[in-house]
């Protein structure tokens, strides 16, 4: 069985995560589209912390019934990996857009220096 203290600490941590993310969105320091994965992480960890029967059942499926909190760690790790991978795709897109903008600036400045209209 999952120790009760693990369940309590897990639930408190998940709730804190959700609250911090919501506060960041409220303060416009985090865009909703980048917050969704974090909120999902918090929600899943909260459910697995509170729903002790479920955690035990899953631990049985995975062959770690002697220590069910391992499932909690595994799921948390999986979600963190998802968030990181998501950020890698975001960075790649930003890099491409950044280069595109730099190229456009170079082309537009050259046109301006010739005195020809920017869309000729």
């Amino acid at each position: 069985m999952t120790p009760v203290r693990v369940s309590i600490v897990g639930a408190v941590a998940a709730i804190l995560l959700i609250l911090v993310v919501l506060e960041l969105i409220r303060g416009r320091r985090l865009k909703e589209r980048y917050a969704l994965l974090w909120l999902a992480t918090g929600a899943v960890l909260l459910v697995l912390s509170v729903w002790r029967e479920g955690l035990n059942t899953m631990a049985g499926w995975l062959g770690v019934s002697t220590y069910p909190p391992a499932v909690l760690f595994a799921v948390a790790t999986l979600f963190i990996l998802l968030v990181l991978l998501h950020y890698s795709t975001v960075i790649s897109k930003l890099t491409d857009e950044n280069v595109d903008l730099a190229q456009r600036i170079a082309l537009l400045e050259e046109r301006l220096s010739r005195g020809s209209p920017p869309d000729g």
Binding site: A102, Q103, A106, L107, E110
Partner: protein, 242 residues
């Protein structure tokens, strides 16, 4: 040489010592060639030197890497309606007097992309160190295999393009260590590729961007890019051709 408008794209990063001669040499081949120097945010006044020699200078606001710089030049060629383009490096390693040679297959309508290769017929004098020679050969074999056409020199930055080639590379060009991947992209997009034997000079100033430390990243990055490029679908460009 030609009545059709020709642009020479010259990427340069901190090549103030070499760029002036490069521009002069190209203009000496034919004053009608529009020399476009793409300054990749140099800090040594490369852009001003190029401009003083009569080149059109595209100044990138920050360093975007060789591929992004070259692509800027091709975007210029596309937007300004040029029919032909050659690309030479800003360090002076490519001999501008060979421009008519690498341009010939494009002008004859036989190819969309001509690579100035150091290894077409074995007559070239370029003998790189063993490790680099091996790398060049492996990439050439790989691109030949994946692209379905024998390519002898995939790392050459001395190329000529027609309008179809300009449009492809303006839209799609890899950002770092681009030459190998660009060759495969061209083949898979259906561009007709030709190769012409050229000589390359030892660089006069500056140093090659490929240092020993970076070569491992180079190899891994290019291998991954080739793998991905061969899995991707590219629109065939037959329709864009004259």
């Amino acid at each position: 040489m030609t009545a059709r408008r020709l642009v020479a794209v010259v990427p340069a990063w901190n090549e103030a010592g070499a760029i002036g001669a490069v521009v002069d040499e190209i203009k000496a081949v034919d004053p009608g060639i529009e020399v476009v120097v793409v300054d990749d945010a140099s800090t040594d006044g490369t852009a001003d030197v190029a401009e003083s020699r009569g080149a059109v200078v595209l100044r990138l606001p920050f360093n975007v890497g060789i591929g992004g710089a070259v692509q800027t030049g091709f975007r210029f060629a596309r937007d300004e309606g040029y029919e032909l383009a050659v690309r030479l490096d800003g360090d002076g390693q490519h001999d501008a007097s060979e421009i008519p040679t690498i341009l010939a297959p494009v002008e004859a309508g036989e190819a969309d992309l001509v690579i100035g290769s150091r290894f077409v017929d074995g007559s070239g004098s370029y003998r790189p160190p063993l490790a680099r020679r091996l790398g060049i050969r492996v990439f050439a074999r790989l691109v030949s295999l994946l692209g379905g056409q024998r390519v002898t020199d995939t790392t050459s930055g001395f190329v000529a393009l027609d309008r179809a080639g300009i449009e492809l590379f303006a839209a799609e060009y890899p950002h770092d260590y681009p030459e190998v991947e660009a060759t495969l992209v061209a083949l898979r997009s259906g561009l007709r590729l030709a190769q012409v034997q050229v000589e390359m000079r030892e660089r006069t100033t500056g140093s090659s961007s490929i240092t020993f430390v970076r070569s491992l990243y180079y190899i891994v990055k290019v291998m991954l890019a080739l793998l991905v490029a061969s899995l991707r679908r590219y629109p065939r460009l037959q329709a864009a051709r004259r």
